[in-house]
Every structure is written in C-alpha cells, then in structure tokens.
C-alpha cells in the first residue's frame, strides 16, 4: 500500500509520470475521436466500440506474428479490416435499427459486443498476446525513460488527429459530417445524403478504432477484453469534451490519460481505474445538457 511520504509527493512533479500520461492520453484521445465521430452522426452509444478496437489489434497481431509482416504493414491491415468491418456490422445489424430509439441501439450494440469479443476468444484464445519485437530497457532522456514504441504512439496519434482535423475542415464530406453531427435533421433538409455520410463515418470511425486498438496493444497487451476495459476512460473523454465534438474529445483524452497516470501519486494504484469512472460520472452529471435531457441531441 502506497504510504504518504514526501518521496511520493515529490513524484507528483516527476516528468516520467507526465510522459506516461501523455502516451496513455494519446491512445485515449485517438480512440475518443473515433467514438465521438460515430456518436455525433449516429446518436447512440456504441458499447461494441471497444471491441472494434480489439478486432483491429487482433488482425494486426495476426498479420504481424502469424504472417510475419512488418508492424507498419500489419497495422495498416488491422485498420483497413476494422474500417470495412465497422461498415459490415452496420449493414448487418445497426442499419436495420436506424428508426429505433437510441436506447434500443445501445442494447443492440451490447449484443454486437458479445458476438465480437467471443469470436475473438474462439479464434485467438483467451490469453494475452503481444506484437513481435524484443523487450528492451528504455533509453533515458533527461531522466525520463522513453520507449521507441511510445514515441511512435505519440507521433502516430498526432498524425491521426491532424489528419482527421483536415478531413473535417477541408473536405466536403468532412464538413458535411460536422454539419450532420451538429444537427442531423437540418443537414438532411439542406440536402446532405445522410446515409452516404453514415457510410463514411463508419469507415473513418472504424479505421480510427482499429488503430487505437493497435496502439493500445503496442503499449500494453492484446487481450480479448482490452477494448471493453478501455471503454470507460474513452467515454469519459468523449463526455468531458462534449459529445460529437472531435477537438473536445481529443483534449478530454489527453486530460484523462495524464490525470490517470498522475493519480498514482496520491491514491493507491489499485484504485487507478476509479479515475476514469469518476470522471465519467462527474462529466455526465455536471453537463447541463445532460440534466435537461432531450435538448442535447
């Protein structure tokens, strides 16, 4: 049990924790970006999103270790598979429920999550996996241990965030997405083909989920329930950032990652998962839109 002595208090200013937080935050930020895009257009909480992440990671894992492809190629495969996969799941399942309430869709997504997670277990087993590559001591810079993988995670996440920003700002489809996210009905009235938008959103959201899962697997482990356990902090980021707001979600992601890693200075490590849970609860309860119900959507 972590005692409360000055050493620990000093650790609060330990740049190592900040760096760890930045890495974790990068992963959450990417994942939250994909989730908030989907949420913004489709207006339901997709519980299966975490499992999309896991599917992306497992396909990349298979390409990387079972077919000996370099990690970069494997990651691209994982991304593409999940982009298409998200679209397929929509055509098979979600599309049929488009006219139903957000609540029904949420329950449907639980069913999808059950199916995906357990298919992973059947195909790849229940144990944890890792991408190929040696485990080595991280080089130190100014007293901070920095792994090459972690640098890659931070760089890739910045690239993805930047790319998505450009997509949303500079392309017609992106601008349409933002419009639809703000108000689906209005977008429809203005003649935006919402079904085509939905297709793009699943492709983009699925690809982002896939890469987020791969980054998570790179930093930690690949496990069948990796996405589900990551879901709470990701949702917290989405909620804190304002639902459907990509920039807010990214900011929320970094904030949560860093808070979570710094938290071990003041709370016992076994309560680290509580940070995401508490932030999600506080985020939801403190939102005026949340309290006033319907107005948010």
């Amino acid at each position: 049990m972590a005692g409360f002595d000055p050493q620990f208090v000093m650790a609060a200013f330990d740049p190592q924790f900040l760096w760890n937080g930045l890495v974790v935050g990068s992963i959450i930020a990417v994942a939250a970006l994909g989730l908030t895009l989907i949420f913004g257009i489709l207006n339901f909480i997709n519980i299966a999103y975490g499992d999309y992440m896991a599917v992306g990671a497992y396909f990349a894992f298979a390409a990387n270790t079972q077919y000996d492809l370099p990690i970069v190629v494997a990651a691209l495969i994982g991304m593409v598979v999940m982009a298409v996969g998200a679209l397929v799941v929509d055509k098979l399942v979600f599309e049929r429920f488009r006219s139903r309430s957000a609540i029904v869709l949420l329950v449907v997504s639980i069913g999808v999550a059950f199916v995906l997670r357990n298919l992973i277990r059947i195909v790849w087993g229940t144990g944890s996996r890792r991408f190929s590559g040696p485990i080595e001591a991280a080089p130190q810079f100014f007293g901070i241990r920095v792994l090459p993988d972690q640098v890659a995670i931070v760089v890739i996440s910045v690239a993805i965030l930047g790319g998505t920003y450009l997509l949303l700002r500079r392309t017609r489809i992106g601008i349409a997405m933002r419009a639809a996210s703000d108000d689906t009905d209005l977008a429809r009235i203005r003649g935006i083909d919402t079904e085509r938008l939905v297709t793009y959103v699943w492709l983009v959201g699925g690809a982002i989920a896939g890469i987020a899962g791969i980054l998570l697997g790179l930093d930690a482990q690949i496990r069948p329930n990796m996405g589900f356990t990551a879901l709470i902090p990701i949702f917290a980021a989405v909620i804190l950032g304002g639902i459907g707001d990509p920039i807010g979600a990214v900011a929320g992601g970094y904030a949560i990652g860093i808070t979570q890693e710094l938290s071990v200075v003041v709370i016992p490590t076994e309560y680290k998962p509580a940070i995401g849970l508490l932030l999600l609860i506080i985020g939801l309860l403190s939102k005026p839109e949340g309290i006033f119900g319907e107005a948010t959507r």
């Binding site: 957000a102 069913g111 309560y271 999600l280 959507r297």
Partner: protein, 316 residues
C-alpha cells in the same frame, strides 16, 4: 439423488436470476430507466448479508476484520435495504439523465462499487472469497436441504412476481408507464416524476439485493468476480428476450438463458470446439438478443404496446 440435486441447483439459479430480472423489469420494462448497475445491487445484497452473518476470519489470509453473527433473515433484510438505498442514491444523482447517459453513469457506479469490494479486504475479504457463509436453517429442515432452499427461493420469486405485477397494474405502476412513454404527460398532470423514478429504482434494487443475499447464503463463498458487468448484461438479455414489460417474460427469459448454459453442459467434451462452448454460448446469446430486438421487439411475452411506443421515438 444426484439428478435431483442438479435440477434443484439449476432451478435455484433460475430463481435467483429471476429475481434480478424482476427488478430490472421494474426499471426498464415499467419505467424505461436504463439501469446498468444491477450486478452492483446484487453484490451489495450478497456482501451485506454475508458480512452481517459471518464472523471475521482467522488465519494467514484473514484480512476481514468486520463481521457479525446476526440471524440470516436480518442479513437478507439489511442486504435488500442497503441495495435499495444504493439504488436510490445513484438514482438521486443521475435519474434525470437521458436514457443512454443514465446507462453509462450506472455502469460506472457499478464498477466503482465492485472496485471497492475488491480492494477493501478488511470489510469484504477482497479478492479472497468471503467464505464460510451459513445456510439458513441447515440441519433443521425436515426435507432435503436443496429442495428446501429451492422452495424458499421459489416462494420469494412467486411473492415478488405477484407483488411487482400488482404494483405494475396499480395507479403507481400506471404513472411509471406514463413516465416510460412520455415523461411530459405525467409532469403536466402534476406528478412528481422524479420521485416515482426514485421509487422504481429503489424497489428494483431492493429485490436485486434480496437476490444477492439468497445467493450468498446458498453458495458458501462469494468473490468480487461474481459481480462483473457481464452479469448485468446477461440479465438485460434475459429481460429483453423474455419481453420487457412482462414479469412473466422476465422469468421465462431468465429460465431460457440459464437453461442454455446448463443444456450445453451435456454436450460431449470430445466434439470440436467443446472447450470454446462458453464463448459460443455468449455469441449465441448476443445474436439472439439482436434477433429478438429485430423480429420480436416486444420479446417472447413482452408488452406489445410498450415497445411500439419505444420504436417511434427514434427520430429525435
């Protein structure tokens, strides 16, 4: 006789889970509240009753220092009460949230509660099982104990079924239904809908807590891993497959899901994929959940009217 033992065990599990489903049906079926904290109410009932009736442990791994030897019915009652209190507390903070946000908040609360149970060993034995939980009246019933316990659970299920069905048909229940369909209406009629939601939440949580107590006093030992979110999801699947809004449906759906679990145990272990059965089962439950929602939105026995109303609100 061993075949009877198995049948009684399965029936007892069905009974305990049915209680959970009855509670969830009050929340979702009657009131339209998305409660994803059901496993936590179950856990609170189980742990409260176990702690109140089981003295602290001794030995090297004994970390629990809190415990008492109250009669079991006190434990059961306290478990249900505390679960209700937890339900009301959670509801007070969050019941005004829109449906799916409520789901996320309740899920988070449930995970927080489980985290505390897992880590506060002085109270709950933590990851070590809280063991040595006594069974009520063991050794002093004139019939087979498993039969006695099943009858006890059956009695509670029957009582709860009648009570909750009656509640659903009462003026109280009609307000809940009105809240479910469109909260504006009862509001306009001057009903304090929040108060009704709190009561619904508390009642459903109480019955889940009672189920937890009954479960704890049956299985000798409880661990935090018995109360994962997947339990909540399973009960949800049961309620939806059975038909939201129907208490009989909740029981039938539970019997169905527990039944699948047991029936697949008789699959010979040398068939291909035999060791993947638990996962195949979950895939099947997932597919069933989706299929039922699509083809029979009101479930096997659900309240048709209720679900029709549910499908029209999609456009918002």
């Amino acid at each position: 006789m061993a075949v009877g033992d198995l049948a009684l065990l399965v029936a007892t599990i069905m009974g305990v889970y049915s209680l959970l489903a009855i509670g969830l049906n009050m929340h979702w079926g009657d009131t339209g509240l998305l409660n994803f904290a059901h496993a936590a109410f179950f856990a609170i009932g189980a742990y409260t009753s176990a702690i109140l009736t089981t003295p602290p442990e001794t030995g090297l791994l004994a970390n629990r220092t809190v415990g008492a030897s109250y009669p079991i019915f006190v434990g059961l009652l306290a478990g249900a009460t505390l679960a209700a209190a937890a339900g009301v507390l959670i509801a007070v903070t969050s019941v005004r949230l829109e449906g799916d946000y409520l789901a996320m908040v309740t899920l988070s609360f449930a995970e927080l509660i489980r985290l505390v149970i897992h880590n506060e060993g002085w109270l709950t034995s933590g990851a070590q099982s809280l063991k040595g939980i006594e069974r009520p009246l063991e050794g002093s019933v004139p019939i087979r104990y498993d039969l006695f316990y099943f009858l006890l659970v059956l009695g509670v299920v029957a009582g709860s079924y009648l009570l909750f069905r009656r509640l659903a048909g009462s003026p109280f229940g009609r307000v809940l239904h009105a809240v479910r369909e469109d909260e504006e209406v009862p509001l306009a009629l001057g009903k304090d809908t929040t108060w009704f939601k709190l009561k619904s939440f508390g009642l459903g949580a109480a019955i889940a807590g009672l189920a937890g107590g009954l479960w704890a006093h049956y299985v000798y030992a409880i661990t935090p891993n018995m109360f994962l979110p997947s339990l909540t999801f399973t009960i949800w699947a049961a309620v939806i497959i059975g038909g939201a809004g129907s208490y009989l449906g909740a029981i039938v759906g539970t019997a169905f899901i527990v039944g699948i679990r047991q029936v697949t145990r008789f699959v010979p272990s040398d068939v291909p994929f035999a060791s993947d059965l638990p996962y195949i089962r979950l895939v099947v439950i997932g597919v069933l959940l989706i299929a039922v929602l699509y083809y029979r939105p009101y479930g096997l026995l659900g309240d048709e009217e209720r679900m029709l109303a549910g499908s029209e609100e999609g456009a918002d």
